[in-house]
Symmetry: C2
Subunit: 736 residues, 2 copies
């Protein structure tokens, strides 16, 4: 009987987290399906409308009706027959969508802008950003994402859909006290949700799990991996049951391949890999320059910027067959094998091969430029699919050229491995490899990309080519010492995040630690003195030392806890300014953890000093007559190290155990204190010193160009304004 | 110019580790191909021989020649036409192979026995087992593995092939001083090699990478993952270029599926998942009981045991069509769709469905028994493929039953989703899911299994069913609180390894630490006193404290270092028994790490106190006239914690930073010391206390049965012996 009861308790306790993860997964799947449906409808709306019902997109409008080559039917009406008119309406609608999206984001949820991957990485590593994953962000980002994609801006919905998924995870989990009370547990749920976000964005559940391991989390735990697995599974099953595209496929650009590759193709694969690596390096560098420029000049005009970009993209993009259509659709077209029907705009015809190469090259170059300008603008904007699109146009171009070479010299030695009866070169697979290379180049992830590509195509035989391409891409990136765009953005924004790459500093922690400390003596302080401490905004907390000169370290108290006790005490009115304060922890109680003060002991990262909210739930201490006892709030076991310990080990401690602060003591005496920010400041200073040796400009080439264009534009606008005001005043003068 | 030089240096430094990893990958691929070819030839040899050349296996003997339904041709001669004769030869050859394998292992490389996964996990986590990954083990294990598989024992070659791959990684890397000098770097190479081992065993490069993350390593690092990725890629490309099966496939049991699954099938998938979970739980428990029995009674008869098992397996297995053939081949047969030709022994005929179910059930039950008895016997023996084979026979049985249900009630509501024109149920996919469930159940890994199954079949649509099955399997395992068989074996063997599952102890480290310490005073000790310390084999090293009563902690010296200096000093003859010894570290030098004494600072796990060999490479200290200075060998920055720190955090420190010892100090004073072994001893004591509450017998049911069988057998043998000696003495008496 007791056994049954114990089993039931175990079940309900384990059940709650399973329930939360399932619920989050289901919501993520539903939300992804809605976003997909809305995106398709809005995208089609730029070209025409359905006469059978305005709410139908082109596909459903023409469902089971005879269509022409491009999928149009009688019920689907283009806006106008004239190309110029279509072009105008297309551009106008694109700009309108961008305006709506930027306006909504600016007015209701500024956090909905951008991709969100960088910020979520920081949140998962322990950085607190209130309401970044809130309900408002969730709603606005879900609504504006289809608008942005339909506006044709060169941005993707995959990054933002990770942010949306994490918002869902956060909102759902917050409903349960077990999670809302523990930041550690919340972070686990957010990690799992990020896996589900990638899973639904790419229809790739295992890819999602790997993404959460390779990119998002910096501490690996089997339990978190398992949660991610489950959440991604539930989300994918939900999406698959919703079947938003009515094709049984989970994403638009899912394809399958029949044919195998040949060993001689490896030389072309290497070429594609090099492209991916260079793409990643340059898009990241240029985009950072644009970001610097944006921060300097465009911070006040987010809506204008988004509308201008959408307008420009539409104006130029309309005339290129690969830029005009939706990116997911173009990926599908580029990935597909030529055989088996459904040629798009003569892409497969060898008669049209050179115009097609031209068109693909233009698409690659234009989109490269637009991605650099658009990623980071103040609308939901990811970089996954745009990168894949650029890689795919480049790859397809290479594929067509190789095919043309084969056609003109079929008996050449290099093509000896080709079977004369079946098509030897499949340009679609080159497009796939190009997409993989560009994605890996810009994000600096490898295993995840292989799995995603594999789950998109199911082509067993293309695992090895994909791995070879990514090997080259990664080597090129390593050569340039490039980091992923998410990490670069974290650094650009100055978030406190320790990147995964390992530095070798060869110095002890004593060289980096802060030595000017604001400590609190364990006894003998008066309330006013303690109160003054909390005014300083620079300290997260205060080491407690013995009142004598030896400064033996006794513990650590966070500023939040200090404030909390002070407020409670002031409210209770048992205290006055001369009340003595003691900070002596109770030696009979062991660590606060053992008292059950921090609720979830099994969480590897919930250790004292990290979860700032939890200690607030402790019972209020009774302020005695003339002594206010802070003892129960003092963390007796802050993480301490010796001053000679090497900085690398301290960085590892920060990364693995996640404390806010590490105290440095020598033989019991406090000598310093170090935080993640101190480490980052030191790294930045080191890198600045080494980069100033070489001839790298602080203002990059692109930023210079932009600055000049900005000057010129403002001058133009200024003269127009002057002319307008002159004219209007002269008109007014005449009228008067 | 300087820049070019710097780049070249970077290249050559990075190049060496790339070179080592590539070389290891190539060797692993070649070795896997050789093992595969040898295994197939030996397996076929049990049934017959090739008249065109004894070195050809059946497939190559009949290459491009007309064959009958089972692949036999005129050139391939069975040993005899009579079933009884065939049975005898089959059994005799199986026993011979087992004898050869067991004899080679026993005589030349005892470490080649078993799977090796458990031991490699310990080695990767920092445990030192000399020559476990040596050249001898590599050669003997590579040679005996084909013999064991051909002997028909219910063991697999996938686990051992991981061990073989790790041996190759170790042997190759040891040739380069950069690796042989650093245990941390060696561990990275071994992790990468384990990935390559799985990659070639299953033809699944990404599966291999995930295996190294999920099962092998307990610290996750992007760099190690990338190494694993590269090593697995090289090994797989090599294997693919060798093409051992001449079919373009990397493993025997690779298949592809055309058809999709239906939602109603989920109920049967859940059944398969439950089977997998139960299989894992019971095979692990029973196998541990067999292992206990083996340790007690069979330790002296490893060869007899292996031969007996092989003989029994052959005697019984010969009459079951699924047990008679090679396990990889039977997996291929069971996984295959029925359509598309190549039916094995009427497996696909609905007329034979009930005999087939019977046969599959028998195969499941028999192999279950044989796996329990065979895994752990003193020959190379893995449990991956046997588990998959058991799961596959069970799954195929379920599939055939479901298909029979559909055939008899095609219009039933449950089958409404079936398209009448195409086959609705594909029993082969049930076999695949069964194999996945059993593999996941016994190893307790999930993501890896999904990827491996996916890479075996390329069936995009079967990712979700596989995930659902593994979800159920994992839940069943969790319910029984089961651990993977590798972790159970580690515990059974008492290796110092902290498993990944997270305990909640709620106690401070002071409750677990050792307080009876053998410390060394920093000054004032005479050489004889120091010399005595090294006699105690119980201490890995000694904390250095101030000579006064305060016992302020100054550092830590390992026993190896202490011995080294003592030997050097004795050899130099500058010392006598009253020589004073000092252990005062030089405060001007920072940590030993900063002196470049530990060569590879970027290694996250090469921190002082872990790599025992490196300090030996330091220049010899000059023993002065009457003072022997141990200062340079003292680690100034051992990892220290406060006594109130919770045990969970200490366990995390051990796992993440990998020190041999953690010192416990209170306000600078040394109060205790803790090692991994102390933690494990505590965990074992806790678990023993809680398990003795419940009614678990220390001698399990199976062990009881075995004990009785053993008694009975020894009695029988004893009476036979007595009878024989009586008879012989009476004969001798008569003759005399």
């Amino acid at each position: 009987m007791q056994w049954v009861w114990a089993q039931l308790q175990r079940l309900s306790s384990a059940g709650q987290s399973w329930f939360v993860v399932s619920l989050a997964g289901i919501c993520i799947g539903l939300n992804a399906a809605l976003i997909a449906i809305l995106t398709e409808w809005l995208s089609d709306l730029k070209m025409g409308y359905c006469s059978d019902g305005w709410w139908l997109n082109q596909e459903f409008c023409c469902w089971e009706i005879e269509t022409d080559g491009e999928g149009a039917c009688a019920a689907w009406k283009p806006w106008t027959k004239y190309t110029a008119g279509m072009w105008f309406i297309y551009t106008a609608l694109a700009s309108l969508f961008a305006y709506l999206a930027a306006h909504l984001v600016r007015s209701f949820a500024p956090y909905a802008a951008g991709s969100g991957i960088s910020e979520i990485k920081c949140i998962i590593s322990g950085f607190v950003m209130k309401s970044y994953l809130g309900l408002g962000t969730l709603i606005i980002k879900s609504l504006t994402l289809p608008l942005v994609i339909a506006s044709g801006l060169s941005v993707g919905k995959e990054g933002p859909s990770v942010h949306v998924a994490c918002c869902i995870g956060n909102v759902v989990a917050r409903l349960f006290s077990r999670f809302s009370r523990s930041q550690g547990k919340m972070r686990e749920i957010i990690t799992a949700a990020s896996a589900a976000g990638v899973a639904v964005a790419f229809g790739s559940p295992i890819g999602g799990v790997l993404f959460s391991i390779e990119e998002m989390s910096n501490v690996f735990s089997i339990k978190t991996m398992w949660r991610s697995f489950f959440c991604a599974l539930v989300a994918t099953v939900t999406l698959s049951a919703m079947n938003p595209y009515r094709t049984g496929k989970l994403v638009l650009f899912q394809v399958t391949y029949d044919r195998d590759w040949h060993f001689f193709e490896i030389i072309f694969f290497i070429l594609i890999g090099i492209f991916g690596g260079l793409y990643g390096v340059f898009v990241t560098r240029f985009n950072l320059q644009v970001a610097a420029f944006r921060r300097k000049h465009l911070a006040a005009y987010p809506i204008t910027e988004a509308v201008t970009l959408a307008c420009l993209t539409a104006v130029f993009g309309y005339f290129n067959r690969f830029l005009r259509i939706d990116m997911s659709e173009s990926l599908y077209i580029l990935f597909k094998e030529c055989e088996g029907g459904g040629d798009y705009d003569n892409l497969c015809q060898s008669t049209a091969q050179w115009p097609m190469v031209n068109s693909l090259l233009l698409a690659t170059v234009f989109r490269f430029g637009f991605v650099i300008l658009s990623y980071g603008s103040k609308v939901p904007a990811g970089i996954f699919v745009p990168s894949m699109a650029i890689g795919a146009t480049f790859g397809r171009m290479v594929g067509i050229i190789v095919k043309a070479m084969y056609r003109s010299h079929p008996t050449s030695g290099i093509f000896a491995a080709c079977d004369p009866d079946v098509p030897c070169i499949t340009p679609g697979t080159y497009a796939l490899l190009g997409a993989a290379a560009a994605l890996s180049g810009v994000m600096r992830i490898t295993v995840t990309v292989v799995v995603i590509m594999f789950e998109l195509t199911g082509a067993l035989t293309y695992i090895l080519p994909t791995m070879i391409v990514l090997l080259v891409t990664k080597s090129v990136g390593d050569w340039f010492e490039a980091e992923g765009i998410a990490d670069e953005m974290i650094r650009f924004n100055g978030y406190p995040y320790l990147a995964k790459n390992e530095h070798a500093f060869n110095i002890p922690v004593s060289r980096v630690m802060r030595t000017e400390l604001h400590t609190l003596a364990a006894a003998g302080l008066q309330l006013t003195a303690v109160g003054k401490s909390t005014i300083s905004q620079l300290n997260d907390g205060f080491p407690i030392v013995t009142p004598d000169d030896q400064r033996i370290l006794l513990g650590y108290i966070g500023r939040t806890e200090l404030n909390y006790v002070l407020q409670k005490a002031n409210r209770g009115r048992h205290v006055h300014s001369e009340t003595h304060c003691t900070f002596i922890p109770d030696p009979s109680s062991t660590a606060p953890m053992a008292d059950g003060l921090v609720p979830h002991l099994t969480d590897p990262d919930v250790i004292h000093g990290m979860d700032e909210d939890d200690p607030l739930e402790m019972s209020v201490s009774t302020a005695m007559d003339d002594v206010l006892d802070f003892g129960p709030w003092v963390n007796q076991t802050p993480i301490t190290v010796a001053p000679q310990l090497s900085l690398e080990v301290v960085i590892q401690l920060f990364r693995q155990l996640g404390p806010r602060v590490i105290l440095v003591e020598q033989h019991g005496t406090l000598v310093g204190l170090i935080t993640v920010k101190d480490v980052l400041r030191f790294i930045a200073a080191t890198e600045h010193a080494s980069s100033s040796d070489s001839n790298v400009d602080s203002v990059g080439a692109l930023q210079g160009v932009l600055e000049e264009a900005w000057l010129w534009t403002s001058e133009c606008l200024g003269s127009v304004q002057r002319w307008a005001s002159n004219t209007s005043s002269s008109i007014q003068g005449r009228l008067r």
